[in-house]
Symmetry: C2
Subunit: 306 residues, 2 copies
């Protein structure tokens, strides 16, 4: 029998849930806007509601053996508690793993969303068949997940993978993390908008900047050049330190990949040692919004198969 | 019976060899200056001579079961060939593993010297009992080795760990690697001398700069501040990406650790996320010159015990 996991992508904007088979088939989905300014209990109730929806839509609801949540948070893995969620503070300190497990009557696992995306791309996306890869997600912020020797690498406290907070400009733009000149300050959607406005463009989204650049606007083109250059500088250091086989670029801003791929590649080639630079493939993600859901499902299947 | 490995540290200045027991006891040593401008064969003959010396000095020469070489090189691990040795070009392309094995009649293993140091410190030095650590060697250049989940991490081509070639100043000082503004350009002995001279000091070694700084010379103190600051910026990124338990600072320049430890720590604390920053211990190495020899021995014992 094909076992099924419910997989949740707990985003700051949307809650997305899917029922995923062991082979990656998505059998049903449900989604809702993430409630703003509400209590943690309201968010949890909504998650349970979506999960029950998703489960009852299945031919055989009893095939659901687990729920996995990809969360934009650092996680206390041992205890299953959400530590820091800058975009969903109402859930900080919540023992979400046990709540999900108890209310749905199945095993539950929490996974950092960027790590989940890395697992998903490694399972069914751009980095399948690759042992060691880095997945970078360019969204509102810049996230990252590492796969080392075929396994997600989470670090001692589960906080590893914060590629967006490598410093690439010692006295650069202040970052929400408390540092300055982080990759995130040049390669996130937020940064693209800021840099475009600094260049005098009247834009409200990173898509606006993309559209200007596609129409040949020089300032907009320069924004993506700066973005790719700084992202490349950060990644070149990782190529020297980790000698990975692949770097996968995902997240919303990766839709503009064609506009900055060349700059990323140039910096990696110029700044990394020849052998690891030649080795590393730098490619766009393949799973889009589903990377986190699929990765979370994969993580929970791996755990319950042990 | 306690098995013994011969362990070689193939430095650009000295060839050092020791007979090491499975518990890390060093039973005998031999050393010679690395021949300058000679052929690869001359260097190899000298290594064999030192190895035979070391072996014959033992109570039971037949206890020697292997030889391990820590080399300042990238290595083709599968083939046992030295790829790039910037400081010993006469050995580039040499199949040193098989040569050592054939001429000494025991198993042989090659290991990158910085990785060997990381293994050594993890076995008997500062990072023992630590699962995930980064060992940084501050010498003529800046090297690095990673221990991840208790094992040396070498990357896809064995080139991983090049902590010295993380960029910390996008348009900084040109680096021998072809990039600009690498950690090595601010935190190596070479860099310390350069920065001191730029500040008007008449120095010929990094020890001179150290001595000036100890006597309170402001320019010399500033050199170590800059060194620690840039090293800290590079390490802060690694703390965010790898969430390690410990960073071990070794190599000749680490003798001046007290002069820049505070700057390293400050940058890591300011620039890394609170959780991994709090986690990571940053400490001086404990094994000095023997880190590479002990690590190489450990690597070969691990291999032949499989």
């Amino acid at each position: 029998m094909n076992r099924i996991a419910l997989a949740l992508d707990l985003g700051g904007t949307n809650l997305r849930l899917a029922a995923v088979g062991e082979d990656g088939t998505i059998y049903s989905r449900s989604r809702a806007e993430t409630p703003k300014g509400s209590s943690g209990n309201d968010v949890i109730d909504l998650i349970i509601h979506l999960a029950e929806n998703c489960r009852s839509g299945l031919e055989d609801p009893s095939a659901v053996c687990a729920i996995a949540a990809a969360v934009p948070a650092t996680i206390n893995i041992d205890e299953g508690i959400l530590n820091k969620l800058p975009n969903l503070r109402c859930l900080e300190g919540v023992p979400l793993r046990d709540i999900l497990s108890n209310r749905l009557g199945v095993d539950a696992v929490l996974e950092n969303d960027a790590t989940a995306a890395a697992i998903g791309e490694n399972w069914l996306g751009a980095s399948r068949d690759v042992d060691t890869s880095i997945c970078v997600t360019l969204g509102t912020g810049v996230g990252g997940g590492l796969m080392i020797n075929g396994k997600p690498y989470r670090g001692k406290d589960g906080t590893a993978g914060e590629v967006g907070h490598i410093c690439v400009e010692p006295d650069g733009h202040p970052c929400g993390c408390g540092s300055r000149g982080c990759v995130e300050q040049y390669a996130s959607a937020t940064a693209v908008i800021r840099m475009a406005r600094e260049a005098g463009l009247d834009v409200s989204t990173s898509s606006d900047v993309y559209n200007w650049a596609k129409r040949g606007n020089e300032e907009a083109v320069d924004v993506f050049t700066a973005m790719g250059t700084y992202l490349g500088i950060g990644l070149a250091g990782l190529v020297n330190v980790l000698n990975p086989e692949m770097i996968v670029i995902g997240g919303g801003v990766s839709a503009a990949w064609e506009l900055f791929a060349g700059d990323v590649r140039r910096e990696v080639d110029e700044r990394s040692f020849p052998e690891p630079a030649k080795r590393v493939k730098i490619v766009g993600a393949e799973l889009g919004d589903d990377a986190g859901i699929l990765g979370a499902a994969r993580a929970v299947f791996a755990l319950i198969s042990k």
